[in-house]
Symmetry: C2
Subunit: 400 residues, 2 copies
């Protein structure tokens, strides 16, 4: 049994306290957020694959090698703490001060930043805000979700109350951004809390699976930031037998964690810069998953497909073209393509589909594209947004 | 000694006759073009790597395996002859009719098409226009260049009169399109004529080199069409000792052919849909050329870099970010980046560059970006356009 929640998501694990305030890093009401628990945790994270990494990402990678009992996460917006001259100095100063105030070890604090690249982090401002931050009593996941926003237009949260053979556990998460928003804003930060009892190894495994099936399958503009981070903290308070291998409960947890991440990933696509629509491309019938992935990514990242989507045009030619240059062994003679329920291309030729029906379908806010390669049994899917005038406007008019 | 020509480019080889007329395939004045010579030729071509290929491309690939003495090239705009049901039937009908009228073999005719994908080619219209086409006496490269245009806004031609140790030879070429223009328009067609005396093997080699250093180094929107074709025909009339190996004359020819193709490639970028600027990214100091290429392509295809360029914003953060996700071993601690003459990023940190000077520089129509990886001696370069409101407008407002 599962119950969904789309606000106060991080509050779903009661022993985790949520804080947010202003450190005057931005013009927003809140630009520093804190997640804190006095419980011992098992924590894990997945980071950007960009070889240019922010100082916070480099710091956290080393931190998690040393300690997985993370008790606090401090996040700021307005500055990415990347490619600047005081990155590690800033992290040291903030974690030193915060650990004293929370009475925890420095190495129990995870850090994250999102904002402008290349400028020094004014960490004195963050440190000056810490007393105000930790004395705040709202315990508001909503306010935290706001504190990490950059060009996001809506807060993004999702939570599940799960029950497996009578054992209850919870997963709550917030996310920000996508679209490598604004010039140098970090793309995507997600923070997940759960109370499930699980080993470090199995938590790592579940998080990686969930991220690979959600956040790694979305495309707004195909860019990838220096700061992308997905973090999960488990307080181990649930009454389940501790998960230590791939048993049924593990599968159930992994499914639900993936469900949470997929819902957040789709929220990111919908809130992509200037986006008016979300589309899902599903590629089936491939010999290898990698083949299906190449095609799904090619179609998702094609500017011509994205602009056709914005123009509400059922342009199967652009989709087929993108599939063709993305996968070198594509055989159109075996390929079927559907837009919604409409078969538009079949085995080398366009079909006599009803153009009016399809044009009506293209007006929907959610569009489904299915390509059946007809040669195997592997599949891959991606979610992507369209590209509108506003995407160009937002990204061209911002000035460094 | 080299003299340049930017009109009547194909007329530079006198024995080659140029024709163009209307077959009523489009609303343009001319939509069918013909290149014809009564000389024996050595011919070569390079085709799209898209695994979805137009019927004309599939036909030409087989044709050139059998015969390199091509005497005629017939091209139409308005229909790509791709993914339809009468592709080969259409080619057979047109080449049969044209070979009779020109009194040459069917297998001496090369075919090319550009236009909408998925619709049958109304080849009766082309056949009905052939008498008018071949009786036309303008011999106009300009008109031919017009006949192959789709959403191009200007005709694109370039020619060189070359002299090497007293031996003269000529290279003339036209090109159309880029930007995977309109929904299903074939991207790029180029036709080159020369009179140099050269073996088939060496002509293949020179063309491949020239294409790899020009047309394959441009990015408008990163899409690649089903119809891309670069064709070269040599009448062998020049008085040079026939080129049969990589001697000095070969190098000189290869350089000049590359020069012609580079000039045409840059014209394509400048005429990219909605483009307002052209930028060149040069990556130097790489261990392998492939590394430099990955970065150059990543930066060229980044939507965020392209929109920043349109916004005239010296946004080095977006460039570095794109470099970072394009090449997994990027070391920012060794990297220097210049925009124009301005060092903006050096060895892990942004510099104190003069923002006003750089903002002024970004107003230029041609922008140079140089990334020195500082680890090796290999280089790669790409030319690319910006992405403007008009790109989205052109591509969203077209309806199938």
């Amino acid at each position: 049994m599962i119950a969904k929640k789309s606000d106060k998501a991080l509050n779903i694990v009661k022993s985790v306290k949520i804080f947010a305030t202003s450190a005057n890093l931005t013009r927003k009401d809140v630009d520093v957020g804190l997640i804190y628990t006095d419980k011992d945790t098992v924590s894990s994270a997945v980071f950007t694959k960009n070889s240019v990494k922010a100082a916070c990402v480099l710091y956290d990678i080393e931190l998690l090698k040393e300690n997985r009992n993370i008790k606090a996460v401090i996040v700021n917006s307005g500055n990415a703490n990347a490619c600047n001259s005081n990155g590690f100095e800033a992290i040291d100063a903030v974690t030193t001060s915060l650990s004293g105030k929370l009475n925890i070890d420095k190495n129990q604090i995870f850090v994250a930043s999102t904002g402008i690249i290349g400028e020094d982090l004014p960490y004195e401002k963050i440190n000056a805000s810490l007393d105000k931050l930790i004395s705040q009593t709202d315990n508001s996941s909503d306010l935290f979700a706001e504190s990490i926003m950059t060009t996001d237009t809506v807060k993004k949260q999702y939570a599940l109350e799960c029950s497996f053979l009578g054992t209850r556990f919870n997963i709550g998460a917030v996310v920000k951004g996508a679209g490598m928003i604004h010039p140098n804003m970090g793309t995507m930060l997600s923070f997940i809390v759960t109370d499930i009892k699980i080993s470090q190894k199995m938590l790592d495994s579940a998080l990686l699976y969930a991220v690979n099936h959600s956040f790694n399958r979305i495309s707004v503009d195909g860019d990838m930031s220096t700061n992308d981070t997905v973090f999960i903290m488990s307080t181990q308070e649930a009454k389940n037998d501790k998960i230590v291998d791939e048993n049924e409960l593990y599968r159930f947890f992994e499914d639900n964690l993936t469900n949470v991440c997929t819902n957040l990933a789709k929220m990111i696509v919908k809130d992509g810069e200037g986006a008016t629509k979300i589309a899902e491309i599903v590629v089936v019938g491939a010999i290898k998953e990698k083949d299906a992935e190449k095609i799904a990514r090619g179609v998702s990242n094609s500017l011509l497909v994205k602009t056709a989507l914005f123009g509400q045009d059922p342009n199967w030619g652009r989709i087929l073209d993108a599939a063709g240059y993305s996968f070198e062994h594509l055989d159109v003679q075996k390929l079927n393509m559907f837009i919604g329920d409409n078969l538009v291309f079949s085995k080398g030729k366009s079909t006599n589909f009803d153009k009016k029906v399809l044009q009506e379908y293209m007006k929907n806010e959610e569009i489904e594209i299915l390509i059946d390669l007809g040669v195997g049994a592997c599949t891959y899917n991606m979610w992507f947004s369209d590209i509108s005038y506003n995407y160009v406007k937002i990204n061209a008019e911002y000035h460094t």
